[in-house]
């Protein structure tokens, strides 16, 4: 059965506290931190972007397991901050892991769920026997306009999942999606920052789609929330995934390892992927993980994952690459002036 062969994450070391952003804009820090459930967010270094984050995540995945990169037949990178408007990030990643030239590649965009869409594509290609391995990456250096609500959470990071059939560390029993045309969040071509429908977009956007996909997945799998050891939901803040988990019948304990947004912020296309990576970091053979992403526009992808004995076997060395917890530890805090320099943020909306 198709599954995850190896995985890796990457998070830049710089952080800014939400308190510092609130100070600059004269907002009430405690209201904002309390409302979002986010304390700080990651900031890319001056020379980091979606391509470098995607490469580091992919290399961390390949450090954990010896794979002939020539056997990787597809590389897909999901992001809404690809460095080029035209020129695929996936080609740079393919070259930097020595998977070129006998491979297909493309960049994906679907707001925050382009990474999980990449996993689905790889599952299809692997399942059809067209490729041996496919690499699916979700990575972003998320954009939020200065003083916009999004600025408090827009963060940088990503994760890579190698999909294949041979001896997976986790089987993916199934996947379903729930998609509609919903204008809850968008960025027009040529604009620097996205716009959104305001604070009331949660219900017709996030909650409708996450619950829609989750119900379809549970129905297809014939499972209920109690059958899972862990659950991971898209996390634009800490409040939404907590609330959706509760509505669906998952417990705070089930979502705990994968809920990284309080210290990381929202890494957009990376968010669900990093949450899944953090959960695999602590998972044991036999653990079952329920995963549901969300992308504005809007849609959700849901996955039914089961960890195998291979996660503790010799061919896979989980400790050969840093865990998400390790990547989050030992941060370097910056003030708003440094943050603006790091983000190249001089363009006002």
């Amino acid at each position: 059965m198709t599954g995850i062969i190896t995985y890796g994450a990457y998070i830049p070391r710089y952080r800014i506290r939400l308190e510092e952003i609130a100070r600059v804009w004269g907002d009430n820090a405690q209201d904002i931190i309390g409302g979002l459930g986010v304390r700080e967010k990651s900031v890319p270094d001056l020379d980091e972007d979606t391509a470098t984050i995607a490469v580091e995540a992919a290399r961390n995945a390949l450090t954990r397991r010896e794979i002939d990169p020539g056997e990787i037949g597809a590389v897909y990178v999901g992001s809404e901050s690809h460095p080029y408007a035209v020129k695929p990030t996936a080609c740079t990643v393919g070259e930097a892991i020595r998977a070129t030239p006998a491979m297909t590649a493309a960049d994906y965009e679907f707001a925050c769920k382009a990474g999980t869409a990449a996993i689905q594509t790889c599952m299809g290609l692997v399942g059809a026997g067209m490729i041996r391995y496919g690499l699916a990456i979700g990575a972003d250096v998320a954009q939020g306009a200065p003083s916009d609500a999004l600025e408090y959470t827009a963060a940088a990071g990503g994760a890579a999942f190698l999909i294949g059939r041979d001896d997976p560390i986790a089987r993916i029993h199934g996947t379903v999606s729930f998609t509609t045309d919903t204008p809850d969040f968008w960025r027009r071509e040529g604009q620097n920052y996205p716009r959104h429908g305001g604070r009331f977009t949660g219900d017709p956007g996030y909650f409708k789609h996450v619950q829609g996909a989750a119900h379809l997945m549970l129905e297809q799998a014939g499972t209920s929330p109690g059958d899972y050891d862990y659950a991971v939901f898209h996390q634009p803040n800490a409040k939404f995934p907590r609330r959706v988990a509760e509505h669906l019948g998952f417990t705070p304990e089930q979502i705990r390892p994968g809920l990284v947004v309080p210290e990381l912020g929202n890494t957009y296309s990376g968010a669900t992927m990093v949450g899944l990576a953090a959960t695999l970091d602590v998972a044991k053979p036999g653990d079952r993980i329920f995963v549901t992403s969300f992308g504005s526009g809007a849609g959700s992808d849901s996955f039914d994952v089961e960890v195998t004995d291979a996660i503790e076997a010799g061919a896979f060395r989980r400790d050969a690459a840093p865990t998400v917890r390790q990547l989050l530890s030992n941060p370097i805090y910056v003030d708003y002036a440094h943050y603006a320099k790091h983000k190249g943020k001089i363009v006002m909306q």
């Binding site: 001056l46 470098t52 490469v55």
Partner: protein
């Protein structure tokens, strides 16, 4: 640097790919097609470096051309890779005062520079301090 000149060596820049002489074991980066010690008796094969090494000497760049101006001040170092060859590369540190001779470093994939707002983005290998991740 011209786009074609960068492009031809892109994989070697991204992956620290050099060569090795099978006769004497000497490694080369940038890659050489000829071993100066063994001459014609040495066979040259591709070799990929692990990306770990030590700072031999360095300088702090405080004024740079437009492509690098946003990154100043930064550390430019000569690094001796553990396999032997020396490479010149940027060492990314939180503060330039951290840099020192003998510092252990490991390679990372970063943006090297850009040609203005509309030109090519150059990626390649830089180094960061090789400190272990904390437990947990």
């Amino acid at each position: 640097m011209s786009v074609p000149r960068f492009w031809r060596k892109i994989s070697k820049r991204y992956n620290l790919e050099g060569t090795r002489c099978t006769q004497c074991g000497r490694t080369f980066y940038p890659p050489r097609t000829f071993c100066p010690d063994c001459r014609r008796s040495g066979e040259i094969v591709p070799f990929r470096f692990q990306g770990k090494g030590e700072v031999v000497t360095f300088t702090v760049i405080r004024t740079a051309s437009d492509a690098f101006a946003r990154q100043t001040p930064f550390v430019l170092a000569i690094i001796r890779l553990d396999e032997g060859p020396r490479v010149t590369a940027q060492v990314v540190v939180e503060n330039v005062s951290e840099a020192h001779i003998g510092m252990r470093v490991r390679s990372v994939f970063r943006r090297i520079g850009t040609e203005g707002d509309s030109g090519v983005i150059y990626y390649g290998t830089k180094f960061v301090p090789d400190v272990p991740y904390p437990e947990g």
